[in-house]
Subunit: 551 residues, 2 copies
C-alpha cells in the first residue's frame, strides 16, 4: 500500500519552548521520541507564532489569519461569529475536524444570539467550539479566585475522571494534578513557584498529559474509515509548573541553563519591555531561586510529553497508521523562564515567540526531505493552508493569510517565500498597560523578523531592534541607535505595506475578481456609451427592443 | 408637546453631487425644498463618503466601518455574515430599521449556508438584506446584457407596478422609466448618453423618484407608534441619465457649468488617474457634446428629487411628524460629470468623494444650530453612531469607527474631532486594473484629506497630493513634487498610524478591556507568585484547602 496522507494528527503543546528539545540542541533534556519524528519529517527552526499568548496565537492558527484580521487579540476575547476556522475549510474536503484538549477559544455568545445560532445545534456547537467537533475539550485552566472560576468549562470531564479514580475533591485538577503536598500532608499548591520541585499528588498515569494521550487514542480507535484531522492539544508544559513522580526530580538545579540576560539590557530597557520586567512575573523569574525551582519541573513536564509521544507514535506505528497519517507537532508559544528578566511569554524574544515545529508527511513525495531542517521563515498561520492542501484542496488565498508548507516538505523551494515573519501582541488587558497608562485601543505591538533583524513596533513608543547575527541572544536593543536608522526605516516600510493591505475581502476570491474584471457590460451596465456604435452589437440589440416584445 | 427625536428618516440619494444644490452654491439649479431642510438643520460641507462607489460606500454607511474593516470593497462583493449593521445597533434600542429603496448589498450566501441561516427566517432575511426589514428593496439596476441580468432582484416590484399602470414590457424599468423614444417611436435607451435630453417614456408620477417617495409615505403611514428608522434610499440622480417631462428640458446647455479640468492635468496625470481617464467613461465625459446632453438631464433628475422632497417634507409637516422625526439627507458619492476628464465616480476629487449632508434634528437641543453650516471633517461612517445616540444608545466605539454628529447638531464643538478624513477605493474589478495589470489584492487607493491638503496613496505608485487652498479645483497634482515631500511624509504618517490600528476586536468593548485589565488574579490565575505571601490572603486561602473539603 502506497504511503499517502489520509489523516492529520495536529499536536500542539502549550508553552513549549522551541529549544527545550534535544533535536533543537538542549544539552540536558533528552527527547528521543520527538527527535525521532524530526528524523522522519522536517524540523522548522525559524517558526514563529502569530502572538506570544495562548488565546490569540491559537485563534490565528485555527483561522489561518493574523490577529489584525480575526480580532481575537488576547485571551478571552471571543472569536467573532463568521470567522472561518479549520473545520470550515476541511469538512468540505471530506475531512472531519476533531478536538481533544485545549483551544482557549471564547465563544462569541452575543454574535451567536444575534444570528439565532443555538449552541446545541450541530452548526452552533461548531461555531461555539472554534469549528471543531469536540471529542473532549479541556483547556486545563480550572483556576479559582475570589471572583470565582476563571473558566467554568475547564477540566470538567477530567475532574470527573479523577474523582472516579478516587481523587476526592471538588477540583482534583488543582488539588491533585497540579499541586503537591507539604511534609505535614497539607496542600502545596502548584500555583506557587516554590512548590515546583515537589511531585504532584497524583499517579503519573492519571496526570493531564497521559490522560489526553489516551483520549486521543480512544478517538482514533473509534474514528472509522473517514478521514480526520485530530487536533490533540496538550495543556502542558504550561503552568502550574508541577509534575508527578518520577518526572519531578529527573532534573536538578545543575541542569538549569544560565539565564540569557544582562544588566545592560535591564538598564536600557524600552518602556514596554520595562513594564513587563517590572510586573510580578518578571520580578519572580528574575530570581535565581525561582528559576532553580521552576525549570527542572518544566523540564520534567517536557520529558513527560516526550514519553507520551513515544507511547502515541509507537501505537500509531503498530496499528499501521504511520503510513497515512500526517503528524504536525508544535506549540502555541514559548516560555521566557527568566531569560531577559521575564517569565511566561508576551514579548518577542526567541524563547517566547518561536515555536518548535516538526512535520511528518507519510507520502512518498516527502521522502526527499526526511530528517532535514528548514530555515524558511514560517508562521503558525501556515498550518491551515498546509492542512487544506494535504486534504486535497486549494488554500483560499483571500481568506488564509499563510502559505502551505507542502512544497518544503516535498523538498522544493517555493517561489517568492516571505522575506519576513510577523507576530502581534495586544497588551490592553495586561497589567503592563496599567503601568504605562495606555488606552485599550493602542496597546499594539508588532514584530517583524527576517534572518538578520528582529524589529518590534510599539504603538506610541520608539521601536525595538535586534541584530540576530551580531547578537543572537537579543541583549542589545538598537531601536534608539541612529546608526541603525536605515534598517528601522526598512522595517517600517515592510510593516506599513503589510498594514495597508488588510485581508477582509473574504467573500470573494482573487480568481472571482479577475473573472469579473471589466466585465460589467456583459450584464448590461453600459457606462460611457454615447450611442449603439460604442458597444457590442449583441448588447445594442437588447437595448433597442421597443415594447411590447417577448422578454 | 416637546420636540424630540422619536423616528429617523434617513434619506440617501444616489450619485448626487455635493454642489448640485442651490444651498451649496449651484447658480442654476434651484432646490428650495432641500435648502429649506438645511435652514432647519445643519449642512455639512466637508462630508466625505467612505468610498466613491455605490456598494462599498453603502456598506460603510450601514456598518459604520471603513472598507478595510468590513471587506465589501466594491460593488457586488458580499458583506460577510457577522458584520453588524444599523439594525443590529438600533433594534435593541427599540427602533425598527426599515428599507425603502436601494442598498446595493450582496448577500453572503456562502456564509449564510455555512451558518445554516435560512433566507426566509426573520434573522436570515435581515442578514441577507444588510440588517434592514425590507418594506421595498429596489436597487434600480435592472440592466440586461448578453450574460443576462446584472441583478435579477432589481426593480421587480416596481416593474409590476409599472405593468399595472399599462407599461407593457418585460422590463418597463428600462423600456419606459429609463428610456425615451426616437421620433419614429423606436426605442431610445437611456443607457446611451446621446438620448439623455429626451423625455423618459413615462408619466412623471410613475417614475422612480415619486414612486419611492410614495412607498416611503405608505410605510410611515402604516408604521404605528413604535419608533423607526426608515432608510429611504433613492436610485436617482444615478444613471441611466434620463428624466421624464417636464424635467427633461428644464435646463439647457447654457446652464451646463464649464468642466473643471485642464490640459496640464491630463498631460501630467498619475498612472492610476490616467487609466481611469483612458477608459470609456472618461473618454465619453471628456466630450463636450456628452456633457451638454447629460448634465441638463442630471440637473432635471436632481430637480425632480427636490420636488419630491417638497412633497415628502410638506406631508411630514402636515401630519405633525416634523416634531419628532430626525431627517438625514445625503448621497452615496458624487458624479464627475466631465470634471477632471472623468465621468461617474471612482476617484477622490471633490465632485466624486464629497457628499451633500444635511441633518435636521427636531429636538430643542438643536435649536442653537439651525441653519448653520459646519466645516467639521465628516465621514459617512459618522451616521451610524449619530443614529445610535439619537435613539438613546451609546455608540460602541470598538465596532463603530465614526463619531456621533449629535454634539455638532447641538451647537457644541466636540473635543478632539478628527483632523483628517479617510476614503478608500478598490479598483480590482474595474477595467483600470486591467490597463495597469495590477493583481487583485493590490488595487487599493486611500485618500486622506484635511482642510488644506488632499493626499491619495496608490499602492504600487507614487502618491497624489492637492493643495486645496492654493488649488481648490484640484488641478495640480503635487505628489511628485520634491518641494512637498514634508507634507507627503506627514500624510503617510497619518495613513500608517491608521493602518496599524485595525478595528477587528469587535467582540469586546474598550470598557470591558479596562474592567478586566490586570484582573486575572481575581479568578485565580496566580502567575509570578513564589508563595502565599505574594498574593491576596483570600486567594491564598482558596489554594491552601487540603482535600477532601466542601467545594
Amino acid at each position: 500500500m502506497a504511503r499517502s496522507i489520509k489523516n492529520i494528527l495536529f499536536i500542539m503543546f502549550d508553552q513549549l519552548r522551541f529549544d527545550y528539545l534535544s533535536c533543537a540542541g538542549h544539552p540536558w533534556l533528552h527527547t528521543p521520541h520527538i527527535d525521532a519524528l524530526a528524523q522522519k519529517g522536517v524540523r522548522f527552526r525559524q517558526a514563529f507564532v502569530q502572538s506570544p499568548v495562548c488565546g490569540a496565537s491559537r485563534m490565528s492558527t485555527y483561522t489561518g489569519r493574523y490577529l489584525r484580521s480575526h480580532g481575537a487579540v488576547w485571551n478571552n476575547v471571543p472569536l467573532k461569529v463568521g470567522e472561518l476556522t479549520l473545520g470550515d475549510h476541511l469538512r468540505p474536503l471530506g475531512m472531519r475536524t476533531v478536538l481533544v484538549g485545549k483551544t482557549h477559544m471564547r465563544t462569541d455568545r452575543d454574535g451567536m444570539a444575534r444570528l439565532g445560532l443555538a449552541p446545541d445545534s450541530v452548526i452552533g456547537a461548531r461555531v461555539a467550539e472554534c469549528g471543531f467537533d469536540v471529542f473532549e475539550r479541556d483547556d486545563g485552566l480550572r483556576a479559582e479566585g475570589p471572583d470565582g472560576l476563571y473558566d467554568p468549562g475547564s477540566a470538567k470531564t477530567y475532574n470527573e475522571y479523577l474523582r472516579a479514580q478516587g481523587y476526592d475533591s471538588p477540583n482534583p485538577w488543582h488539588d491533585f494534578a497540579n499541586s503537591g503536598r507539604n511534609d505535614d500532608g497539607s496542600m502545596a499548591s502548584g500555583w506557587f513557584l516554590r512548590h515546583a520541585s515537589k511531585p504532584a499528588a497524583i499517579a503519573e498515569e492519571h496526570s493531564e498529559t497521559p490522560y489526553l494521550t489516551g483520549r486521543a487514542m480512544a478517538f482514533i480507535e473509534g474514528a472509522g474509515d473517514a478521514p480526520w484531522l485530530l487536533h490533540l492539544s496538550y495543556i502542558k508544559p504550561h503552568w502550574p509548573y508541577i509534575v508527578p513522580a518520577p518526572y519531578h526530580d529527573m532534573y536538578g538545579p545543575n541542569q538549569v541553563l544560565p539565564a540569557m540576560r544582562s544588566e545592560a539590557e535591564r538598564e536600557a530597557a524600552h518602556p514596554v519591555f520595562r513594564a513587563f520586567m517590572d510586573g510580578p512575573i518578571g520580578q519572580a523569574f528574575s530570581r535565581e531561586d525561582v528559576r532553580r525551582s521552576v525549570i527542572p519541573a518544566y523540564m520534567g513536564l517536557v520529558k513527560q510529553c516526550d514519553d507520551q509521544m513515544g507511547r502515541l507514535f509507537g501505537w500509531l506505528e503498530e496499528t499501521g497508521r504511520m503510513r497515512d497519517t500526517m503528524i504536525v507537532l508544535c506549540s502555541d508559544h514559548g516560555d521566557y523562564l527568566g531569560d531577559h528578566w521575564l517569565g511566561e511569554k508576551d514579548l518577542f524574544h526567541d524563547p517566547s515567540v518561536k515555536m518548535p515545529l516538526i512535520i511528518y508527511d507519510p507520502s512518498e513525495a516527502a521522502d526527499a526531505s526526511r530528517g532535514s531542517v528548514s530555515d524558511a521563515l514560517v508562521e503558525s498561520i501556515d498550518l491551515a493552508p498546509t492542512f487544506v492542501e494535504a486534504a486535497g484542496g486549494t488554500p483560499p488565498a483571500h481568506i488564509l493569510e499563510g502559505r502551505s508548507l507542502l512544497p518544503i516538505l516535498h523538498g522544493q523551494t517555493p517561489s517568492e517565500w516571505r522575506s519576513f515573519a510577523i507576530s502581534e501582541y495586544d497588551y490592553a488587558m495586561h497589567g503592563a498597560a496599567q503601568a504605562l497608562d495606555m488606552p485599550p485601543d493602542r496597546c499594539k505591538l508588532t514584530m517583524l523578523a527576517d534572518a538578520r533583524w528582529k524589529f518590534v513596533h510599539a504603538e506610541g513608543f520608539r521601536p525595538m531592534l535586534f541584530d540576530l547575527e551580531a547578537d543572537p541572544g537579543e541583549l542589545t536593543d538598537l531601536g534608539a541607535d541612529p546608526g541603525h536608522a536605515a534598517i528601522i526605516e526598512m522595517m517600517y516600510g515592510r510593516l506599513h505595506e503589510w498594514a495597508r493591505l488588510p485581508r477582509q475581502r473574504t467573500t470573494m476570491s482573487d480568481e472571482a475578481i479577475l473573472a469579473r474584471r471589466g466585465k460589467s457590460r456583459r450584464t448590461g451596465i453600459v457606462l460611457g456609451a454615447y450611442d449603439e456604435a460604442d458597444i457590442d452589437p449583441e448588447q445594442a440589440q437588447i437595448y433597442s427592443r421597443t415594447p411590447p416584445y417577448d422578454g
